[in-house]
């Protein structure tokens, strides 16, 4: 029941995080004082009536309920249970329509969804649409191929869905100029390559990674145009970001606000682990919050980081429909996002926790209208594109989204149904029998989705929308965006619980002069022109173009934010993840760096800073090296003083960092492959870490290694009390064994990619640790490192090795498997 950061029952009491939907204001004021309720609805009499109804059922003579509970049907469909929009009939019709490219059957499907009759299932089902003018001929309405560009598929990660399902969506969306979304699991760089035509999918992704192959056509692309950046930061590298048309910062998910994504261990295959820089078989939980966002300013910083990571991509922020989202959206628009997604509650997969499938989040109709109204009123609407998602299924849904203010439309479940999903709600069990939401190769063989079917679906939706537009007299979608005055409450809704609903606040249009934008019409100024990186890039040309070694010297001040990120983008664009050869480009800075110093720093670049840093140093580090030490002339004791701020190396995937001094809080959170040496830490070090190596040559703060499921940390525990500050839920503490691993010729250097690392099993610990400290000494001139190395025999026993238990288990399993394989050969 832990949601929205609330983990105990007591904390829910009076937390005011709830919103009432369908209760009238008088009732709410009296019994749930202070809770928001926006569409009025029933009151005490109806609630009492319903309670009596349920009581009567329980204690009456109903023969069906004599010995059994009601069929229910809330989560799984039941004939006599709760009404759902996805029914055997609607699913069968949609699949048949798209497989046979039959628009007539699609319309039967759309009718089932749109005309809910007395089975009132969505807010929009209670709306009616008024004409904008006299009907226009259908052929004067904007063509479907223009309309589909406004469509996107939802953020479903490879991991939650199979490679086959994920690539099918990407192929389909790219064929029609729409956008697919990576979801939060990273993306295989192999998918960024252009397709010549005739290749098999397995040739690109890998033979043993595709269970159901397909031939690709010339011009196809497997690349997801939207790259998501979630709190887990799985696989978020400079190359990943460089290959985006849009970067979507997921603040929350409509279906489960305040919760992160969850991928159970059995779905983490070798491939998925590789993409996410984690360990096969070890479950992954995205932390609910982004560790680099604690305020709107932090979000502005992240937006700025992302823009630097890819200046040509639009930066999107995904919010959930909840009361107050309008204010948040206004802030996001001011924080220079180019795009906002309002996500409704009924999105989300069967993998969501049961407690989140219902009663979490709010319908998109509410959040979208609030966002549109607030943005228009504050004259911020024109700066951002607005997308809505959450169980959009038909052209009518799109129409209502547009009237309430959306420029673009996200679809998740419907295209999956088109690909074969039959709403098993078994996503979390890895047993999806149609190969959509499973990683089991045997089941993935059964995947039968085709990009053509997905294309058919989106064209059907667009055609249906066109028919509505022709009827209501609109030629362009733009004419309809934000025209909530064309919506009305449906007449003759007989359901007794629908009485008293009042949508006037949803349909309200803010009173602003006609010139004020109500749709996306302007571009944000991200002020990239002022970036220090422009100078660095200019000087680094020989390195960038010809891999020639270059050394640059530069002053730096705290106005210089996100230094090195645009530079890394230039590297990633040219060389991808491989980057430049080590030590090609060295930049020596002097001064106090601003936020996000060296964010996403690419391989081959070394940043040496003589001075100090703000927060977010080495955020998303991917291959570069960052060295920070106090100026030579400084006389402070480096090992006792803070030298880098909070949230350093958050989401780092590879590379190295050496800090001569102490770091702030949340050091190396979600690190999945970088190696770092530091002389002391604040609280929450190595939280949620899944790979890499952290060496702490001093004290740590509390809650070290919370949620850590991979990688290792070595902490120098001089006082012997480290265990008290370490969160022992997922890790074990052990001494550093002294065996000499060089015996079996093991590579002592951690691979640095977050890949599974056998040395972590303990053979080469002492050697690896010593190697890191020696490097630290070499790069930073650390007195502390010198002392430890000089007295190695005395210090080594004081190091504690922090080893995640799951990681150890997974490594052992893989080692055994490899041993078996060797034997077999």
């Amino acid at each position: 029941m832990s949601k929205m950061g609330i983990s105990t029952y007591q904390s829910y009491c009076g937390a005011q995080i709830f919103e009432a939907i369908g209760l009238n204001a008088g009732f709410v004021e009296k019994y749930f004082t202070g809770t928001a309720t926006r569409i009025e609805g029933i009151g005490l009499a109806e609630i009492a009536g319903e309670a009596a109804l349920v009581h009567h059922k329980a204690f009456g003579d109903d023969p069906v309920l004599a010995n059994a509970l009601d069929a229910g049907g809330e989560y799984a469909w039941r004939t006599r249970g709760e009404e759902h929009l996805w029914t055997p009939e609607s699913i069968a019709k949609l699949q048949s329509a798209t497989r046979t490219n039959n628009f007539a059957t699609y319309k039967e499907y759309a009718k089932l969804i749109n005309e809910q009759g007395q089975r009132t299932k969505t807010l929009r089902g209670l709306f009616e649409i008024r004409p904008a003018g006299a009907p226009v001929p259908l052929d004067e309405v904007e063509p479907a191929k223009e309309i589909v560009r406004r469509f996107a598929t939802g953020a479903m990660s490879l991991g939650s869905i199979s490679t086959e399902a994920h690539t099918t969506l990407a192929i389909a969306m790219n064929r029609i100029g729409s956008k697919s979304n990576t979801g939060e699991g990273g993306e295989d760089p192999a998918r960024f390559k252009a397709i010549k035509g005739g290749e098999m999918l397995s040739e690109i992704i890998g033979k043993n990674r595709i269970a159901s192959d397909r031939e690709l056509k010339a011009g196809d692309s497997l690349r997801s145009r939207i790259k998501q950046v979630a709190a887990g930061r799985f696989g978020v590298t400079a190359e990943y970001l460089a290959n985006a048309d849009q970067i979507q910062i997921k603040m929350a998910q409509g279906a489960k606000p305040g919760e992160g994504g969850q991928l159970p261990g059995h779905k983490v295959s070798e491939y998925i682990a590789r993409l996410r820089f984690s360990v096969p078989g070890v479950g992954l939980i995205s932390p609910p919050p982004h560790h680099d966002i604690y305020s709107i300013e932090d979000l502005a910083q992240l937006i700025h980081d992302m823009k630097n990571a890819n200046p040509s991509a639009s930066i999107s922020v995904k919010l959930v429909s909840e009361v107050g989202v309008g204010t948040v959206a206004a802030g996001v628009s001011k924080a220079k996002a180019d795009h906002i997604v309002i996500s409704g509650f009924d999105g989300g997969t069967g993998a969501s926790p049961l407690s989140s499938i219902k009663h979490a989040g709010a319908p998109w109709e509410l959040g979208l209208s609030e966002t549109q109204q607030t943005l228009v009123l504050n004259r911020l609407r024109g700066r951002v594109g607005l997308q809505v998602d959450g169980q959009l299924k038909t052209g009518r849904d799109v129409l209502i989204g547009a009237l309430l203010g959306a420029d673009e439309f996200g679809f998740a479940t419907a295209p999956l149904v088109v690909e074969g999903c039959i709403m098993m709600r078994k996503c979390h069990l890895n047993t999806c029998p149609v190969g959509v939401a499973t990683q089991d190769p045997e089941l993935r063989k059964k995947f039968s989705g085709q990009p053509e079917h997905v294309v058919n679906y989106f064209f059907f939706v667009a055609e249906e929308l066109r028919e509505y537009m022709a009827q209501m007299g609109a030629r362009k979608v733009d004419e309809l965006i934000g025209r909530s005055d064309l919506l009305d409450t449906r007449k003759g809704i007989a359901h007794w619980k629908a009485r008293g609903l009042d949508f006037s606040r949803i349909f309200y249009q803010p009173a602003v002069p006609p010139g004020v934008a109500r749709l996306h019409a302007e571009t944000q100024d991200h002020e990239l022109g002022k970036a220090l990186d422009n100078k660095l890039i200019a000087k680094a040309r020989p390195a960038l173009d010809n891999k020639k070694p270059v050394t640059i010297e530069s002053a730096i001040g705290n106005v210089n934010r996100t230094v090195g990120t645009m530079l890394s983008h230039e590297v990633a664009k040219r060389y991808g993840q491989a980057g430049l050869p080590d030590d090609t480009l060295t930049v020596k800075f002097k001064g106090a760096a601003g936020q996000s110093f060296g964010a996403f720093l690419a391989r081959g670049i070394t940043f040496e800073l003589s001075g100090e840093c703000n927060d977010y140093v080495g955020k998303g580090l991917c291959g570069g090296r960052i060295v920070v030490s106090p100026p030579k002339e400084s006389r402070i004791a480096a090992e006792d003083n803070i030298i880098v701020g909070n949230t350093v190396l958050y989401g780092a995937t590879s590379g190295e960092a050496y800090f001569r001094g102490v770091a702030g809080e949340r050091f190396a959170v979600r690190n999945s492959g970088a190696v770092a040496v530091v002389e002391g830490l604040g609280d929450h070090g190595c939280e949620y870490m899944t790979g890499g190596m952290v060496v702490v040559l001093g004290r740590t703060g509390r809650n070290f290694a919370a949620g850590m499921s991979g990688g290792v940390a070595y902490v120098l525990d001089e006082d012997g009390d480290f265990e008290m500050r370490c969160n022992m839920a997922m890790v074990a503490l052990e001494p550093v064994p002294e065996e000499v691993a060089a015996l079996d010729g093991a590579d002592v250097e951690p691979e640095g990619h977050g890949r599974v690392h056998f040395n972590h099993l303990g053979k080469a610990d002492a050697v690896a640790l010593r190697g890191k400290i020696e490097k630290h000494l070499r790069y930073t001139g650390s007195a502390r490192a010198q002392l430890i190395l000089d007295n190695w025999a005395r210090y080594l026993p004081k190091f504690v090795k922090v080893m995640p238990t799951d990681y150890r288990r997974a490594l052992q399993e893989i080692a055994e498997q490899q041993a078996r394989q060797k034997e077999a050969e």
Partner: protein, 487 residues
Amino acid sequence: MGKITGFMEFSRLSEESLPVANRLKNYREFVLHLNDEQAQTQGARCMDCGIPFCSSGCPVNNIIPDWNDLVYRGNWQQALEVLHSTNNFPEFTSRICPAPCEAACVLNINEVAVGIKSIEHAIIDKGGENGWVVPQPPKTKTGKKVAVIGSGPAGLAAAQQLARAGHDAVVFEKNSRIGGLLRYGIPDFKLDKRLIDWRMAQLRAEGVEFRTGVFVGKEAPGAGVANDAQKTVAPKELLKNFDAVILAGGSEQPRDLPVPGRELAGVYYALEFLIPQNKEVAGDGKNPISAKGKHVVVIGGGDTGSDCVGTSNRHGAASVTQFEVMPRPPEQENKPLTWPNWPMKLRTSSSHEEGCARDWSVATKEFIGKGGKVTGLKAVRLEWKDGRMQEIPGSEFEIKADLVLLAMGFTNPLQAVLDAFGVAKDARGNARATTDGAGCYRTSVDKVFAAGDMRRGQSLVVWAIREGRQAARAVDEYLMGSSLLPR
């Protein structure tokens, strides 16, 4: 749910049938239900789908995933309860239902469907053996009287539901035994008639009264329609003595084949052959028609045709040939396009396995005979284009036949019965009534309801049960203002 990975571990095990040679010697059932362990393993294959398509494919909407799971866990008695909560007579459906549920089963998309029907069979047989099927008489009686006309599955289901709701249900049946086509039509080897008697005992104990040999109407039915009635009751009288009437008289008018030679001896409607056979097996006198040593031609490729084939073979026919006008359906359906619906595909019934030549796209032109007795028939081959048929010139052929059985379906219910009540009919001559919303199952005449084949036309036992149940609820609502009977 069953076992999470059950469908990946276990393959489908179909029910075992006795060898053809054995079963042709008698009229006993030859399909053996799964044993406990087998049924449990089959239950483990169920995936407990988020949307159980099986359940919407099943006309009585059996809550299949729930009882599959209960069987998997060995909780048989509760499984039976869940099964009975939607289906009055699983002993019938688990034997003779074509199982549209299995066509709709999610596992059927790319695998072999869960053996739903065989699990249903195992549950009810176990319930019967253990005496778990006991009468559920109502706690209180309403004092209302309802007449049910016809004792087929629709009438029986309606009567049982009405009795459980406390009404006095009286079933009128023109034939000498209760059961409709279950009793007289479907052969004993597909459905052991003792099951009907067993179920009747339960209905009686719940308060249902049966009156056999009573025809309700004015004029007796015409040729080709079975009628053992000794007594006729006029609709008017019925309406006077009862608070409501349900018409559940089936769709009994057989489709004829009016070609030259139809009048020859040896050309019969299927039921003229099958019903006396049921009676013979029940010890009620010998079947006047024998197929022994004869060349039998069955016209019509459906269930009824199959039953004629099976019965002819048990008689010891010299040969059995079955003609169908429609083209031969594909061996395998195109599942992505047909699922979850009932697909057109070649179906080989157990009777076909017992020996039969099948021919498709054939139309009979004429029966030929000698001395007033049929000796053969003339037929022609057809070509089907875009759903229209055309005779192929020069493809006429003759075939030897001493016995011809017309199994071309039933056109509609007995019009005389509907007319006697004066109820409005639909375009196909069925009693007109809707199935959903206010006033469902009510005919145009006050107090008179209709269900089963009499309302929907020739159909299936499981549909008849559904309609009987739902009509009972409609009647209960009509009589009492509201109803707790499940639909």
